[in-house]
């Protein structure tokens, strides 16, 4: 190893080294506790008991499918809203700068604040209900808070994550040269054909990045779920924290949920990215 390489690796230690050790130790901690080690009370020994217990629990499967649903729908909706906006902002026009910073404003709003604003807006005594009643659309306020489908959570996720997708997609869309889209136009391709055969394949990387990051964030969501989500079902993060606090074997059981949550986030987002790639390839070839 030459001197410069050695120097570089030494320099990585305080920053990157610390990150690797931190994440490695935390994941090992979860793995160890899920099979019965590091018990804070009682004896520590290897056992599959906690895995068997949690996998038989139907709360887990409900939380799993719920988180999967919220994450998939939020990721797909966010990019579907971001694409037309990114294409629209591709050519500079008067006020484009203003519009784009307006669209990115939710990035500056804290998740919990967003959740509060939303709940405040739609609550039984809230603004929306007042307007509905005053307009005579409904005779009595309707109950919209903590809806049982998780629509509130999805609205919040999309509101908060769409600007992020827009940020990634705007960069990708802007790097496509006009000559290529103009050439397609001259050859008689309509707007939709150009989108499917040129824009989508050329922005695939940014699209996948946006989908993966939004999926992971939404799959691990706790705050939106607790404030605006359904009461009858938990997200995986919520289940993990609740089990940890309430169960006698809290740490061990929540460790199994933590590992399942990480696997869901990683495998789910990878699958979503892969399927997107296949669909776009298929669409471009057709």
């Amino acid at each position: 190893m030459n001197k410069q390489t050695l120097l570089a690796y030494c320099l990585l230690l305080p920053g990157l080294g610390l990150i690797i050790v931190f994440i490695f130790v935390i994941i090992s901690m979860a793995l160890a506790q899920s099979v019965g080690y590091f018990n804070f009370s009682g004896s520590s020994k290897f056992t599959w008991q906690f895995w068997q217990q949690i996998l038989a629990d139907n709360q887990l499967s409900r939380a799993f499918f719920y988180s999967l649903k919220i994450a998939t729908i939020s990721a797909i909706l966010s990019v579907s809203f971001a694409y037309p906006l990114a294409l629209w902002l591709r050519d500079p026009f008067r006020g484009a700068q203003f519009v784009s910073s307006l669209l990115k404003a939710p990035l500056l709003v804290h998740g919990l604040v967003a959740a509060f604003l939303y709940v405040n807006f739609i609550s039984f005594n809230g603004f929306l209900n007042q307007i509905f009643v005053h307009l005579g659309l409904v005779s009595r306020p309707i109950r919209m808070q903590n809806d049982s489908y998780g629509i509130g959570v999805i609205i919040l996720q999309v509101w908060k994550q769409m600007p992020f997708a827009l940020l990634l997609l705007t960069g990708a869309v802007q790097s496509i040269g006009h000559d290529i889209t103009d050439a397609a136009k001259d050859l008689g391709a309509g707007a939709w054909t150009r989108f499917v055969k040129i824009i989508l394949p050329l922005t695939l990387k940014a699209l996948q990045a946006a989908l993966i990051i939004i999926f992971i964030g939404a799959a691990g969501d706790y705050s939106f779920q607790v404030v605006a989500g359904p009461i009858s079902v938990s997200s995986l993060s919520q289940l993990m924290l609740r089990i940890q606090a309430n169960d006698a074997n809290g740490w061990n059981l929540s460790a199994t949920v933590a590992i399942l949550l990480m696997l869901t986030a990683l495998i789910g987002s990878a699958l979503l990215a892969l399927i997107t790639q296949q669909v776009i390839k298929w669409g471009a070839k057709r």
């Binding site: 390489t5 305080p14 920053g15 506790q33 939710p106 500056l108 804290h110 405040n120 007042q130 607790v226």
Partner: protein, 274 residues
Amino acid sequence: MNKPCTNRLIILLVIGFCCISLVLPFSLAMLWSLVDPGHPWSYPHILPPVLSLQRWVDIWTTTSLPQALLHSYLLAPCVALCSVLLALPTAYAFGRLEFPGKQAAQLISLLPLIVPSFVVALFFSSLLNVLGIYSRFLGILIGQTVLFIPYAIRILSVSFSLIRQEIIDATRDLGGGPITVFKTAYLPVLKPGLLASIIMIFILSIEEFAIAFVVGSPDFVTVPTILYSYLGYNFIRSNAAVVSLILVVPNIFLMLLMERFLKARNTAVITGKG
């Protein structure tokens, strides 16, 4: 179809949407924070009957908000400083050195961003238990510092890569020692990046919820955890409105400040002067 006309229509639609999804909810929060405790705002009042600053006074004098603010604003500068200091060597290596495995290393440095934050928070707190670290402040400080190093690495490695070798060489040729080289070639280019990453991590730390909540609860409060306590099961609307505003408004100003530093970087690149 007339293009400028449709464009204007879409702009109006976007602005309208932002008004409904941003301006209106914030105005409502503002109003709710000003509702007088003696005159509740409920149906059929379209607007609050009496406005006063009583809520702000109440929440300041009767809740742990001052303490939460103190904790948050003490933690944030410490976290920002530690993260940036720890990130500097790695950022230098990423920005100025070539070595095998650099791309993989850059990818791995983003690891904290893809592990769900509550998993990190929960098993970090269990790690603190094992290690016997019971200081909440220290625990949150360590956790947030490591979690935010990637942001500092990203901003600073770009800064390091912008430093021009000619200027370093010229300074050396003119007889400048290491300190002079650092002052003339490094510092002017690094400064905006340093300030930007400090502000960025400051904001991230103020807003961080998972670690502050899991490690800190129940006795160590920060601004987001106190906001959380007013949401959910015991939803106290006016208090939540006050804390929301306290959480959002300063950070927006800080964010604007940060953008200015990052823009200043561009001029440094173009002119090479910094």
